[in-house]
């Protein structure tokens, strides 16, 4: 029998930060994750974490405005105000926990420049900022003696009388299924990058958390907002951090021109990511690329500077492409990287289901709107991870007893057994690849009605095959084959919400750029899209909209 006050799904930055907070409040907490916490995808964040530190002349309103402008005015401004005003303390706290942030001459934290911001306010550890922070939060979890269900995979949220009361999960090491009861659950399970192919995301980013919440009746918001990162390596889709451009790298086309001059003469390579990715794609589509890529040129920075500040990028470039960045430019292309959309929450991480909170990439507060600024994702995880912890602890005071139900365990056992018992059919990977390639094709850097309808048709075809794939591995111990099947079901839910959101939004805003409707339409579309899973609705999704919260910044045309 497993019981906790608060159960956190996911052991990345948002999950561990929430866990630290709940532990400090004296409540009984556990983290459950399908991978060991230090394997989480927070590792992959390279460039840094934004924070306006007032003692060095910055102000939170400046960061808030850059974030809102970056979001193409789709972010909720009250949420951004919370994030920006809490950012300084959040980063300083990480430093005091032990993060080895880079320093300036005075021994205080130093910064680098990042996209969409004129003020250099990105704090960093080389090009391994996410990993360096994740490992320090893991250290803190050891210090606190945090209880972690390592390599346990959640298959269902337990919803009783309308409230979230725990989960059903499979212990991958034994293959046994268990109920874990909790008075509150914080979803911090990360993004859904593998819905697309290629993607910079780890193979574990399969939208589990988004889908679990979606199935429990929580709306997924602004799912059409998919970030294509401007600099990913050809074929592998491996990320090359924005830190390269933050430190001064150029983007060049086949003729050696810094083409950003045409679209962002003021910010150049450091315009918002959606703007840079579109400029690159335009160069490539109009024949000024090189084999589907443009070039990221760091040569003028010099070898010692590259190795000191961007060591991991040099490692990746040499190991995966055989290119020494000090000698040669690196071919890069826009690649799917981040999902701005997610589980709709308020500024405390609360969803519309009592007892269910969400934070990090799986959540949408919304602070990123239609386009996230680089180095705001790490900030999002720690600020809203902490807040969701604080409020979950408040919430559980009103919950008298744990749920007693065993029904979900029985039904999940039956569901998984049925999946294992299916006759031999298609391979999971075949269906998954068809889904993911169709998504990238239809919901790309540029999209239009026809491409999005193509994605919908493709998805319908994929859905029709979901009853026909089979699981080859029938064993109990570490049956990842079964897990991949369950992950595919999660991904299809996410894809469904992405396509529905994209087809609904009849304008171009941020990452949602339609070549058939190229303008932003504030009159009709200064709105969030809300996708609800609904068997009665067409294609299984009901789409609603809600107004964007504007506090002090009226939308204006976005110019970089």
């Amino acid at each position: 029998m497993y019981e906790h006050d608060v159960l956190i799904i996911g052991g990345g930055l948002a999950g561990l930060r929430a866990a630290v907070e709940v532990t400090r409040a004296g409540a009984d907490v556990a983290v459950i994750s399908k991978v060991h916490p230090v394997r989480s995808h927070s590792n992959a964040a390279q460039g840094g974490i934004n924070a306006p530190l007032t003692d060095r002349g910055d102000e939170w309103e400046g960061h808030a405005y850059d974030t809102i402008k970056g979001s193409d005015f789709l972010a909720d401004q009250d949420a951004v105000e919370v994030m920006s005003s809490e950012a300084g303390e959040a980063v300083l706290e990480l430093e005091r926990m032990g993060v080895i942030f880079s320093r300036g001459e005075d021994g205080k934290l130093g910064t680098r420049a990042f996209g969409g911001q004129k003020v250099a306010r990105t704090f960093f550890v080389g090009a391994i900022t996410g990993s360096a922070i994740l490992h320090v939060l893991f250290e803190q979890s050891l210090k606190l003696g945090l209880n972690v269900y390592e390599e346990w995979f959640v298959t269902k949220l337990i919803i009783e009388d309308g409230a979230c009361r725990g989960v059903v999960a499979i212990d991958l090491k034994t293959g046994e299924m268990h109920t874990i009861r909790a008075k509150a659950v914080i979803m911090a399970a990360g993004g859904a990058g593998r819905v697309f192919e290629p993607s910079t995301n780890a193979l574990i980013c399969t939208g589990d958390g988004l889908s679990l919440a979606y199935r429990a009746g929580v709306p997924l918001m602004d799912m059409e907002m998919i970030q294509y990162h401007p600099t990913t390596l050809a074929r592998t889709g491996i990320l090359m951090s924005e830190a390269a451009r933050g430190e001064g790298a150029y983007l060049l086309n086949a003729s050696g021109e810094r083409f950003m001059e045409k679209t962002a003469p003021d910010y150049m390579e450091l315009a918002s990511r959606d703007v840079v990715s579109r400029a690159e794609q335009t160069e490539i589509d109009e024949g000024r690329g090189i084999d589907g890529n443009v070039l990221l040129d760091l040569r003028h920075l010099g070898r010692s500077y590259i190795e000191a500040k961007l060591g991991y990028l040099q490692e990746v470039s040499v190991e995966f492409l055989g290119i020494d960045m000090a000698e040669q430019p690196v071919p890069v292309q826009p690649g799917m990287h981040y999902i701005m959309g997610g589980i709709k929450t308020d500024v405390n991480g609360a969803t519309n289901v009592p007892g269910l909170y969400a934070a990090g990439e799986c959540a949408n507060v919304s602070v990123h709107g239609a386009n996230r600024l680089g180095a705001n994702s790490l900030l999002d995880t720690v600020v809203f991870g902490r807040r969701s912890g604080v409020h979950a602890v408040e919430y559980i005071k009103s919950v008298r007893a744990h749920s007693k139900t065993e029904e979900d365990l029985a039904s999940e056992n039956a569901r998984l057994q049925a999946l294992l018992d299916r006759p031999k059919g298609e391979r999971v990977a075949t269906v998954r690849d068809d889904m993911a390639r169709g998504m990238t094709k239809g919901i790309g850097v540029f999209r239009d009605q026809a491409s999005m309808e193509g994605a919908l048709e493709n998805l319908k075809n994929v859905k029709s095959r979901m009853g026909g794939f089979s699981i080859e591995n029938k064993g109990k111990v570490f049956n990842t084959d079964l897990m991949f099947g369950l992950e595919l079901e999660f991904m299809v839910d996410c894809a469904e919400a992405v396509v529905a959101g994209a087809l609904t939004r009849k304008e171009s805003r941020g990452a949602h750029f339609r070549t058939d409707i190229t303008e932003r339409d504030d009159e009709n579309w200064l709105k969030h899209t809300l996708m609800y899973q609904d068997d009665e609705a067409e294609d299984g999704v009901r789409v609603e909209t809600s107004d964007v919260k504007i506090t002090q910044w009226e939308p204006v045309k976005r110019v970089y």
Binding site: E139, V477, F478
Partner: protein, 330 residues
């Protein structure tokens, strides 16, 4: 090695894999070798090839992998007998002429299934070094003031992604499961070198005194060889030893060993192995000296006992000059 450029012009390359399988459920645990062949893109890594096997060939094959970009530390395993992070190991580099690759789970760790090993060994070692910052004061506001070079210095160890490759191939752990191990000691170094930490002396003393601590490393270099992130754990262990001695920890066989080595070579130009053994144990440490007796007797039987009176080199001046120049430098 064939021309890499020529290889990329081909559509695919054929990869031959021989994988050590283990199924704990099969009649109480069964180990066997299984061979696979897959065609992959010429730039593919060993991980790409194994994923191809898992997805298109054999769904029962268990392994861990996540980021594919050498940052999550999931995919450590042995390739041709040596631990590697397979996501950053290109096929063309380890099998340039299409040789069969031998794939096994990491060593020194309990196998759960196929290429998946238990994480318990690794993380129980990490936990032994109190792996979290223990400052003696917290700034009332703002951050700790520290030089950038002191933080960049720590990057060496913070680059560790806890993949376990060093633990896998550690030759001490093979014979002594109580050794704290290379990864945990490199982690400990990260705190003894952190100017913000307030427990430096206590940490060094603990790592010095503890059974299985810093003196158990035999300097075989394996961990330096296999670490995919340049952490070079053995170098960190040597720095720990130096720091421990400087902090006054001179009560261990490890220190006596070092001291005896130093004095013997300085005096004689050669190592006095008999004295080294006794010095290391301690002249008054009777139980420890008694432990040595059977080894001495066995060595004598095989004619391998070092001479009781040490040989001296004829001209010791060069050795003395070397000592002087090193001492002047430090």
């Amino acid at each position: 090695m064939p021309d890499a450029k020529q290889a990329t012009e081909q559509q695919t390359i054929n990869v031959k894999l021989k994988v050590k399988r283990y199924d704990p459920a099969d009649s109480g645990g069964k180990t066997w070798w299984q061979e696979y062949e897959v065609d992959v893109h010429p730039d593919s890594t060993v991980l790409d090839s194994l994923i191809e096997v898992r997805e298109q060939n054999d769904g029962t094959l268990a392994m861990r992998c996540a980021c594919r970009a050498s940052i999550c530390g999931s995919c450590g395993m042995k390739v041709n007998g040596s631990a590697k992070l397979v996501c950053k190991t290109r096929v063309i580099d380890v099998a340039p002429n299409g040789e069969q690759l031998i794939i096994e789970p990491m060593g020194n760790q309990h196998v759960v299934k196929d290429l998946v090993v238990s994480l318990d060994t690794f993380f129980s070692q990490i936990k032994r070094v109190e792996p979290f910052l223990q400052p003696d004061h917290v700034p009332a506001q703002g951050e700790y003031i520290a030089s950038n070079s002191s933080m960049e210095n720590l990057l060496t160890s913070m680059n560790c992604i806890m993949c376990g490759c060093c633990v896998s191939d550690c030759t001490v752990l093979e014979v002594d499961a109580n050794f704290i191990g290379p990864a945990a000691l490199a982690k400990a170094w990260r705190f003894t070198e952190d100017p913000r930490d307030g427990k430096r002396d206590e940490r060094l003393k603990m790592l010095n005194d503890e059974d299985g601590g810093m003196w158990d490393c035999t300097r075989c270099m394996k961990c330096v060889d296999v670490c995919p992130k340049g952490v070079a754990p053995m170098d960190r262990i040597m720095e720990l030893r130096e720091a421990a001695i400087k902090a006054g920890n001179t009560n261990t066989p490890g220190y006596h060993h070092t001291e005896s080595f130093y004095n013997s070579v300085k005096k004689n130009g050669r190592l006095d192995e008999t004295r080294l053994a006794i010095d290391s144990a301690g002249w008054t440490n009777l139980p420890r000296l008694l432990d040595l007796a059977p080894i001495g007797i066995a060595a004598m039987r095989k004619g391998k006992l070092p001479p009781l009176m040490p040989h001296k080199s004829e001209d010791n001046q060069k050795v003395k000059d070397l000592y002087k120049s090193v001492e002047d430098e430090s």
